[in-house]
């Protein structure tokens, strides 16, 4: 009787959750109709970009447990390859996007192979080094990338004969990119692939004993993360219309990593929150523009002192599962 009641309550909660999600979606779709300020739309688009990037980095850091600080390298690689293909060969954006995703994925695998043995701090330093080498190459390979002057005037893409150039169009494009990435991550999280990755992250020896080959999953995490970052990078390039090596510094990697950790490892809602908070916070702190990066650093330290698992970290999720389970409401998900 009581369990039934609680079951009803739990179902209600899930229904409310669904309505909430639908409301957020409707709001996001209608935003450009309600808000005409280009600045606010720009912040929304930045949020979309960072949500997608954070999720792709969380796949590497949170799910597969490899602390990568070179994500900006993949992001920048995607942006550069797409831009160069479009500008030098006159290729259409969509085709260039595919090629750049494939190239960046291969690069991700190549970078991953020598670092498979490394963990924690070492991996962080090496990936930071990769990011720096990428930036140096883009700065010094002037015959192709125009070096520090960057590549201005990136052509805008067209879809079914419609040229995409207004901010509202980019808003919807960003929204679609973000939703696709979120959808992909939800599917991945609920699949055997995602669960194997989490098992490997918890204890790779135990995971290998039940037939999970860690190298395969580590490699795939890097490749998928790199491919998503390349997609987002290409979108970033056509949206901003100008890229230069200074758009892809190590600070970008640290920001993304802070978003992942602030939100919580291997957590989709966490990544979304982390990305939105850390994108909106610096804008909201514009009044204190001098202090905002200082506050940002201090926040990272304080966060780790008081909530080392992040906002939506594993501790919270375990508690939620426990709550639901003791109320007898929810069966464990089967995949």
């Amino acid at each position: 009787m009581i369990t039934n009641l609680l079951k009803g309550k739990e179902n209600q909660l899930q229904v409310i959750k669904k309505y909430l999600l639908a409301a957020v979606l409707v709001f996001l779709v209608c935003t450009p109709k309600i808000i005409s300020s280009l600045y606010v739309l720009h912040i929304f688009i930045s949020c979309f970009i960072y949500i997608a990037l954070t999720l792709s980095l969380n796949l590497i850091i949170g799910w597969s447990g490899q602390f990568s600080l070179g994500h900006v390298c993949f992001f920048g690689m995607g942006a550069y390859i797409t831009t160069l293909l479009m500008m030098n060969t006159g290729m259409s954006f969509w085709f260039a996007l595919l090629i750049s995703a494939v190239c960046t994925g291969v690069l991700g695998a190549l970078l991953c192979i020598p670092t498979l043995k490394l963990r924690g701090d070492y991996l962080a330093v090496v990936t930071l080094g990769f990011g720096e080498v990428f930036r140096l190459v883009m700065t010094n390979w002037t015959s192709v990338t125009r070096g520090p002057m960057g590549l201005p005037g990136i052509p805008s893409p067209s879809l079914f004969g419609i040229s995409l150039h207004s901010r509202v169009q980019f808003y919807y494009m960003g929204l679609i990119v973000m939703l696709l990435v979120v959808f992909f991550m939800v599917r991945l999280n609920n699949s055997g692939f995602g669960l194997s990755m989490l098992a490997m992250n918890d204890d790779d020896i135990a995971a290998s004993s039940i037939g999970i080959y860690p190298v395969k999953f580590k490699l795939w995490a890097f490749v998928i993360g790199a491919v998503i970052a390349a997609f987002v990078g290409s979108f970033y390039a056509i949206y901003i219309g100008f890229i230069s090596p200074s758009s892809f510094t190590y600070q970008g990697s640290i920001t993304m990593c802070a978003m992942v950790v602030l939100g919580g490892m291997a957590s989709i809602p966490g990544s979304v929150f982390g990305a939105v908070i850390l994108t909106v916070l610096p804008e909201a702190l514009r009044a204190f523009s001098d202090y905002r990066m200082v506050l940002y650093g201090a926040t990272m330290v304080l966060m780790m002192l008081f909530k080392p698992m992040g906002i939506w970290g594993i501790d919270k999720r375990i508690r939620n599962e426990y709550k639901l389970k003791t109320k007898g409401g929810r069966k464990w998900k089967q995949s």
């Binding site: 602390f67 701090d121 650093g297």
Partner: protein
């Protein structure tokens, strides 16, 4: 040309060695990478710059005061950002250290501005011997480095606190059982590492005659490469690694391309980590990296 590059490489290398020691010592004791180390050094260098340009403190006193301030900041960073977090939460330690690094960098930008400031500690004189020329500053850098290494050697191998430090780096749990106040030793390690790095910072600031808030990043990465090359956790290893990285960088810039000067140390680090993660002098530990 070759000898000129070697001299320049040894000069920069000695500074990398000084900074690398801090990474290596902290890693030896706590098995964590102190990501804020280079930024602590940068703040110390700025303090030295302020002392000499605004208060006109004599050079020797300035170096000692700046290094002392760096030591205090290093201890403070350990107290605030590392000690409250359990060491087994490595991810949290890493992020907190990165946060500390962002914090210090931007604090320095706030206080001293984001531009580059000059730091002159001595009137430059250039000596020439055949085709090779060197400055009096290079001689001073080399001598100070050797002196600091000697002091460090005495401190670590001949004093009681040095014995305790080495005990902690073998096993912190056993050191605790032997009645060593490990928290004190950890603080002392941070202080010592930062002190030496502070001297390195002032010297490199004087060598390039510029101090700027982001100087810690590249210098820190190179010093960390040096610590890895030599074998992290090993004091003689870091010194050798520092000199080697200095030489590789200088010769690479001279003979291959100076545009990629900053990339050589990263490449060396990546190769070393892929082939021999324990470095030149490091003890082989199984499943460490």
């Amino acid at each position: 040309m070759f000898f000129q590059q070697v001299i320049n490489g040894l000069t920069v290398g000695s500074i990398y060695a000084l900074v690398a020691l801090g990474y290596s010592m902290v890693y030896g004791v706590l098995q964590i990478v102190n990501w804020a180390h280079a930024d602590v050094m940068m703040v110390g260098t700025f303090i030295g710059m302020t002392l000499i340009s605004m208060l006109h403190v004599p050079v020797v006193a300035m170096i000692i005061l700046a290094a002392g301030a760096t030591a205090l900041i290093g201890m403070g960073v350990e107290r605030v950002a590392y000690r409250p977090i359990k060491v087994n939460r490595r991810m949290a330690v890493l992020v907190s250290a990165l946060g500390m690094s962002v914090f210090l960098q931007n604090l320095a930008q706030l206080v001293w501005g984001s531009g580059s400031r000059p730091l002159a500690i001595i009137a430059r004189k250039t000596f020439a011997a055949g085709s090779v020329s060197f400055t009096n500053l290079q001689i001073i850098i080399t001598l100070v480095t050797l002196f600091m290494l000697f002091v460090l050697y005495v401190l670590v191998y001949k004093t009681k606190i040095g014995v305790a430090m080495r005990a902690c780096s073998t096993s912190i749990e056993n050191a605790k059982l032997m009645g060593i106040n490990t928290n004190l030793i950890i603080s002392a390690t941070f202080a010592l590492g930062s002190f030496i790095a502070g001297i390195g910072g002032v010297l490199i600031g004087a060598y390039y005659n510029s101090v700027y808030p982001t100087m810690g990043y590249l210098l820190g990465m190179k010093a960390f490469s040096a610590a890895i090359l030599g074998g992290i956790g090993s004091i003689p290893g870091s010194v050798i690694g520092g000199y080697l990285i200095g030489l590789i960088e200088s010769l690479g810039a001279g003979y291959i391309s100076s545009n990629y000067r900053d990339a050589y140390s990263f490449l060396v680090m990546i190769i070393i980590l892929a082939l021999r993660p324990s470095g030149i002098m490091g003890a082989k530990r199984i499943d460490k990296v």
